[in-house]
């Protein structure tokens, strides 16, 4: 039984899209995923399932299938760090056969930045090559080695971008390449610096990339000044300006800082959601999925 990607349908219809991120745990308790699915249901278009971003957890394929079973459309995230082209294509075939319709293609955090820092990596192909591989499987019905795929492979392809990555020329070149390779939607790293995001979006617009792909800027509720500083220290793809850290610090105790983090997130959503070329919002929960319904309600998405 083939069904369509609701995310793809909404992109085509020009509807405003809300996606949110779910980080699976090192857990075999399926009721946790069912609870998250229930809290997201009917509030978001689709839910991203992260692929072992900080070390081994329940697989993004299994997590995606669990969400699907619970009635929530998944965005199956796949990184090129842990699987070669054999495993990648094999998992993609399985995902499509079992009803997954959205795939987000990433290179993934390098393993030295995860808890399994002693692990070897794979990086047989990179993120652009993964996007192109999925497109070939979908549009030509063949695997990278030329093997013909039996049956449809109706998958919407997504990719990621970092509006803050400099220099802008290289950043946009990379974005253009992902779009050319086949990315139908782009979820960005968390936006905190509105001016930089606007500049990046303008560059994307001027090259008509916003017409060729659906840009879904990422937003992230920060928990505290201390945690925000630790995050930006560890992950260079996350740009949190000093002014945001100061606002969190000045808010006061832990509860007040959490509240301020939420307020900042809502403020950012309100500022960026109506920008020309923005097709939706991607809420990066960072594992705090319980924050998502409140963010959606308070930012009037």
């Amino acid at each position: 039984m083939t069904h369509e990607s609701q995310l793809a349908k909404k992109i085509d219809a020009g509807d405003f899209i809300v996606t949110a991120e779910f980080l699976p745990r090192a857990s075999t308790d399926i009721s946790e995923i069912e609870a998250i699915a229930a809290s997201f249901k009917d509030k978001v278009t689709a839910v991203n399932v992260a692929d072992n971003p900080h070390g081994p957890v329940l697989s993004s394929l299994a997590g995606s299938l669990a969400l699907l079973k619970a009635g929530v459309e998944p965005v199956y995230q796949m990184v090129t760090r842990d699987r070669n082209r054999i495993a990648i294509q094999s998992d993609l075939l399985g995902a499509a056969a079992l009803g997954i319709r959205n795939v987000l293609c990433l290179s993934g955090h390098h393993q030295t930045l995860t808890k399994s820092s002693q692990s070897a990596n794979v990086y047989d192909i990179d993120s652009v090559q993964l996007i192109a591989a999925v497109k070939q499987m979908r549009d030509k019905g063949v695997l990278l080695d030329g093997t013909k795929i039996k049956g449809d492979f109706p998958v919407l392809i997504g990719a990621v971008a970092g509006p803050d990555m400099k220099p802008m020329e290289l950043n946009i070149m990379r974005l253009a390449k992902k779009v050319e390779a086949g990315a139908g939607f782009i979820q960005t790293q968390a936006v905190f610096d509105i001016e930089t995001f606007e500049n990046w979006l303008e560059q994307a617009r001027s090259r008509e990339l916003t017409k060729k792909t659906a840009i879904l800027p990422g937003v992230m509720p920060l928990e505290s000044a201390e945690k925000a500083e630790a995050l930006r220290e560890k992950y260079m793809d996350l740009f949190i300006p000093d002014s945001i850290i100061s606002r969190l610090k000045e808010a006061g105790d832990a509860a007040a800082q959490q509240k301020e983090g939420l307020a900042i997130c809502i403020e950012i959503i309100k500022k960026i959601k109506a920008m020309e070329g923005v097709k939706g919002i991607h809420i990066l929960s960072g594992g705090r999925e319980n924050m998502v319904p409140e963010i959606i309600a308070k930012s009037e998405l």
């Binding site: 290179s107 030295t112 990086y123 990179d126 591989a133 990555m165 220099p167 260079m236």
Partner: protein, 222 residues
Amino acid sequence: MIVAERKTIPELVEILNGHKKILVLGCGTCVTVCLAGGEREVSIISSALRIASNIRKLDFEIEELTIERQCDNVFIEQATEAIERNDVVLSLGCGAGVQAIAERFLEKPVYAGLNTEFIGVLEERGIWTEKCAACGACVLHQYGGICPITRCAKHMLNGPCGGSREDRCEVRPDRPCAWQLIYQRLKGIGQLDRLKKIAPPKNWETSLDGGCRVIIREDHRI
């Protein structure tokens, strides 16, 4: 050149413990240049092992020798007598040198005194950096002479990853992002257009992934 680093003296003592007559064998090529396993290091390591032997009463008898190249039969022959009159060889050659010696003296234990690190260059006094992963199908002409396979921690062939920040690499913040260097270099030589083309998946068959490699030159076998 091949760049190596010395194992620590406690590690070497652990490896050699129980043996008596030890030949510390240096190599006069790459590991001499990178100050890890040449004549000078043979002398330093031998002295340190003698001191350790005296303190711990290990009864080491150490002979020192350095040959021009441990990976070459012609030079290995010059070490034959010294190898035969000792119980074991502590080779200060690279991984290739250690194995070349071991394959030619089947009855003799041959131990590695170095950790072979990479193919690289002397960046500045006391600093060596990796430049080549010996993938067997060089792509340097496409990337302005900067290797994305070796110098990008994710071997990205189509541009930087998200962890590239103002010329730093997320994986090693003390090292430059290879992709920033490639971008600057290609821009400088007027070849930025090369980056716009999607590079297809690499054929890794020519690399170590395709199995341990051998080169047969028929024109040199006549």
